[in-house]
């Protein structure tokens, strides 16, 4: 295989905007108007350029630490990080297995480069294409009622309607107001009102997903009331209504079966899918989809997880968390979903970065899977030069 040595790495903070204030969820403070990526570009001596978003490393780290992580790539051939056979990735050599487990975001960059070197989309390194379109849900409907209190629940409903006008056919609503920011009973009532108003605003055909960020922990009576009172809204999935727990999930499944049997129960953002409780829930049929963060975990470990769930005979699907991963993260999820049979739907923080040129399109609430090599996204060199070049951090081999 032709050698492609990584010789240069550029790091730049890239800021963009949601276009409106995104409020809090059940546990955290306001998300804000702006969102950002830590764009990393790696260049090979053959002239290939691959990219990723280093946000996972920067959530608690520093540029200095990130430079240390990325510095390990310099001087290396891009094909030494994965085993490849018949054009497919088949494993990770021991030298890099821990590194890539700890820094899953680096795999985006490597799959982007490998795809470009081999002339294949990144999904082609995992398997065959199983779908041509990736449905996506707008994931920016936080507690907008606390941002625009004069509108109450209508603030969420009107933002959902706006998302549908822009093309999304699925929206996720943050719930769990009983957890922290409301008096518990008032919070449950507001959650119900938000769901029902949103259904009214978006019509019957749009999927409504809800995510309580565990905001119903310790409040089973309120959770049952929520499930019962929102049955008419035909919620597509309920996510993190409570912290993963067998008895809690058994109760939740019973309420779901009684009031809204088509609703999926989804959970499991953390621990790269390896926490034993996830497997106990899967074993009992209590987890309809699992959601580790794609950018944190990286392509190969995620692919392995999907295969292991399938091979265990569990009926749990894959729905990667992707909120903080922003635009670059979404490109990775689209690639993964193109090859993964168990994939459900992509989380979309709906951000537009004028810095990126993206292959494929967005139609009817779905992203079209591109056949462009790698991740199917390029940096606009002129925008980068004008806006970011002066403040980038550059590492050389």
């Amino acid at each position: 295989m032709e050698r492609h040595r990584i010789v240069k790495i550029q790091i730049a903070a890239v800021e963009t905007t949601f276009g409106r204030m995104v409020g809090r969820n059940s546990k955290g403070e306001n998300y804000g108007i702006n969102q950002r990526e830590w764009l990393v570009q790696a260049t090979t001596d053959s002239g290939l350029m691959g990219l990723t978003n280093a946000r996972p490393a920067m959530n608690s780290g520093s540029v200095q630490r990130l430079a240390g992580i990325l510095g390990e790539l310099l001087g290396r051939d891009l094909f030494e990080f994965h085993r490849i056979s018949g054009g497919l990735v088949t494993g990770v050599p021991p030298r890099w297995s821990q590194y890539l487990l700890e820094n899953g975001f680096v795999s985006y960059l490597l799959f982007d480069l490998m795809g470009k070197a081999l002339g294949t989309p990144a999904y082609g390194l995992l398997g065959s294409q199983v779908r041509a379109r990736i449905e996506a849900y707008d994931s920016t409907l936080y507690f907008q009622d606390l941002v625009r209190p004069d509108e109450g629940a209508g603030a969420v409903a009107s933002d959902a309607a706006e998302a549908v006008r822009k093309g999304w056919q699925a929206v996720k609503i943050k719930l769990g107001r009983p957890g922290r920011w409301f008096e518990p009973h008032a919070g449950m009532q507001r959650d119900v009102e938000v769901v029902l108003r949103t259904r009214e605003a978006v019509g019957d055909r749009v999927k409504i997903l809800v995510d309580a960020n565990n905001g119903y922990d310790g409040k089973p009576a309120l959770l049952e009331a929520f499930v019962r009172e929102t049955a008419s809204a035909r919620i597509f999935w309920m996510e993190e209504m409570i912290t993963e727990d067998l008895s809690g999930y058994r109760r939740l499944r019973d309420w779901r079966d009684r009031h809204t049997p088509s609703t999926m129960l989804v959970d499991g953002e953390g621990h790269q899918g390896r926490n034993p409780i996830y497997w106990k829930l899967m074993e009992e049929g209590l987890l309809d989809a699992i959601q580790p963060d794609m950018l944190h975990m990286g392509f190969w470990p995620y692919w392995q997880l999907a295969l292991e769930i399938r091979d265990s005979g569990f009926n749990t699907k894959i729905a990667p968390h992707n909120f903080n991963a922003a635009a670059t993260g979404l490109r990775g999820v689209i690639q993964f979903g193109a090859a993964c049979p168990a994939f459900v739907i992509a989380e979309d923080s709906t951000l537009a970065f004028d810095l990126y040129r993206v292959a494929g399109g967005f139609e009817g609430g779905s992203y079209l899977v591109t056949q462009a090599p790698g991740l199917g996204v390029e940096v606009d060199p002129e925008v980068y030069r004008r806006r970011h070049a002066a403040t980038e951090t550059v590492l050389h081999a």
Partner: protein, 400 residues
């Protein structure tokens, strides 16, 4: 029931918007455009109302509206307003019986007590704090975060542009966030950008505007770079250097030496992360005259804790410069009341959120300073028309 018995307390989240997006500081990601002000209203049977905010309480990871309501019930309901504080004439001399521990832990609640008692007795908080020490309170704009990250195309020029806007809005003092090398840039590049930003702002606002810098400990572990920063910015005549490093006697000795070596006149200030009673490391820094100003938060500590801090500082020449960021609009009346009454007070931190719910007719900002024409308690009340239209739906009340 006696008219001054407290029968009702409520909590309401109210958005407090900044005039712009605030970027990162040395350790935290973007501050954003809006924070909630957790407004607490405490009412007596006779209809007198005291106000405070519970922002610092709600920032605790285990806090919730439910737990806050329990606390308000325990602290206030069934008590007489007159029993909340102990007074000598018009001056407050301490907490009411059995409230010492609670007001030390939840200083913000003591401000609500001051406001309620002041309104009950028709006495201003300034008088309750010992009477006026000055006619107005100077204020500094504290919204110059890492704005260069928000508009990298302009870079340091973005910070300079926003500093000019602050001066046009009437501010004569501006604080600049620094410490970029702590997390968001490589250490040396971060120091260079910090210097560039300070130079650009000094050029933009001229020599008469007072400039301070605050590194939020961004130079920890980088003393040689800190010395570079001190040397390079000495011509910019910085008024103070805040939290350049974590409080530590050896570190501050080194910093004091740097400042003197490079002819800087900058004061050394820190302490916003401390609380009453003053912690040993700050007592050491104060005793060795290694800091010139001490900065626990005015609202989270509250008036009673700050009175206690003042007693501890009596023998020193330390300035009291209460931190007042994250306190929304309410931070203005709380900080102004304290500043007007306190001889040691230096300048008020301002996050420049416009008032949407408070009637603050007695307050006026002009020529870089707040003045206050008087009124009982803090001299503010709720604009009930706005409240009813916009915020009442999110008010949760406990009664008893």
């Amino acid at each position: 029931m006696a008219a001054d018995v407290i029968t009702q307390a409520s909590v309401t989240p109210v958005p407090a918007w900044y005039a712009k997006e605030l970027g990162k500081n040395a350790y935290a990601d973007n501050i954003g455009s809006m924070r909630l002000e957790w407004v607490v209203r405490i009412r007596t049977a006779g209809g007198v109302e005291g106000l405070t905010i519970a922002n610092s309480y709600m920032r605790r990871p285990d806090a919730s509206v439910a737990s806050l309501l329990s606390l308000l019930r325990e602290l206030f309901l069934g008590r007489k307003a007159s029993e909340l504080v102990s007074m000598n004439g018009k001056a407050v001399v301490g907490p009411g019986r059995s409230l010492e521990v609670a007001f030390r832990e939840h200083g913000w609640a003591s401000i609500g007590a001051f406001d309620l008692v002041g309104k009950s007795l028709d006495v201003s908080c300034v008088e309750m704090l010992g009477g006026p020490a000055r006619e107005s309170v100077e204020a500094y704009d504290s919204t110059l975060y890492f704005q260069d990250f928000l508009n990298p195309e302009l870079g340091a020029g973005q910070c300079a542009m926003e500093a000019r806007e602050a001066v046009q809005a009437g501010y004569r003092q501006i604080k600049i966030k620094t410490g970029r090398g702590g997390r968001w840039m490589l250490p040396e590049a971060g120091m260079r950008r910090d210097v560039e930003v300070v130079h650009a702002i000094r050029d933009a606002v001229g020599p008469d505007v007072r400039l301070m810098v605050d590194a939020n400990f961004g130079y920890d572990g980088h003393l040689p770079l800190l010395e570079d920063f001190v040397r390079e910015t000495a011509p910019d005549d910085l008024f103070w250097l805040e939290e350049m490093i974590t409080a530590d006697v050896a570190g501050y000795r080194a910093l004091r030496t740097m400042v003197e070596r490079h002819g800087s006149r900058a004061l050394l200030v820190c302490g916003e992360v401390d609380r009453s009673p003053i912690s040993p490391v700050w007592l050491d820094l104060i005793r060795e005259k290694l800091i010139d100003g001490y900065q626990p938060d005015i609202v989270s500590q509250g008036f009673l804790n700050w009175l206690s801090i003042e007693r501890s500082l009596e023998a020193s020449a330390i300035l009291g410069i209460p931190h007042d960021f994250g306190n929304g609009v309410f931070g203005v009346p709380a900080g102004v009341a304290w500043g007007l009454a306190n001889h040691r007070f230096a300048v008020l931190e301002s996050e420049r959120s416009p008032s949407v719910i408070y009637d603050m007719d007695g307050y006026r900002f002009a020529d870089g300073a707040w003045s206050y024409s008087g009124g009982p308690g803090l001299g503010i009340s709720i604009d009930e028309e706005t409240w009813g239209r916009t915020h009442a739906r999110h008010e949760t009340t406990v009664e008893g």
